[in-house]
Point group: C2
Chain length 137, copies 2
Amino acid sequence: MVTTHSESAYRGNPYDASCPTRPLLDRIGDRWTVLVVGILGQGDARFSELRRGIEGISQKMLTQTLRGLERDGLVRRTVYPQVPVRVDYALTDAGRTLLDPLRALQEWSIYHLGDVSASQEAYDQLRMGDIGPNAAL
Amino acid sequence: MVTTHSESAYRGNPYDASCPTRPLLDRIGDRWTVLVVGILGQGDARFSELRRGIEGISQKMLTQTLRGLERDGLVRRTVYPQVPVRVDYALTDAGRTLLDPLRALQEWSIYHLGDVSASQEAYDQLRMGDIGPNAAL
DNA sequence: CAGCATCCTTCGTGATACTG
DNA sequence: CAGTATCACGAAGGATGCTG
């Protein structure tokens, strides 16, 4: 038996309101999670390295995200009792399985950014017309 | 020239705070987006069908999610001027490119649910010990 | 350095009521 | 049926100050 995942036959269904995959999906789709995992995919990193690498993330959110990932068994936290203390974060085996899906998401965003932006502008133009200068007078 | 995406050479980088991929990542990783796109991947659907299919989504969030996707050019909204009115939602070609990445995310959640839950329990047990009955007395 | 604790503001979200 | 509009609330998130 080398089943790494749950031995039960229960299969989550995120379309059910109470399904535990809902919060899980929330976490892995989270904006910061995508970026944190992305960086850790390139190798272990210290807290400050992550913080610098992810522009705009607050200390609070970085800590919170890392704790969540650690709790989920996706990230391993290692403390080196030095002075000053040093903490390394690394993806676990499970965490690494997240790399491909999240990279795909990131790539999709980068690749489709142009089209989406154009679509947004067009959409906003039209709606502008609805309430624009000559609208409903 | 059959480039479907932006002709500019600008490549988004979500690690930059001001990069427009940030809000885009937010949208496509959004909990409701994943589920809405998932349903539309199986074929067009009416508003009420979506609402029934995604247990627990409020009317407001469904509308909001669909509007966002429409604005991004990922979903096409078709109104049939009947009484009562009928509105169909369908993925656009661009929207369909989102199917694989989002399905991967969903599958990952379902597949790893067991492991993650187990890890969470273990983690919470340990932290319980820190402040538990015999802690720091 | 790597956090934790606190305050405070903003935003997302749900509930409710109304319309073409 | 498929929304829009409004309100009201809790949680998300940022800023600041402190600690091992």
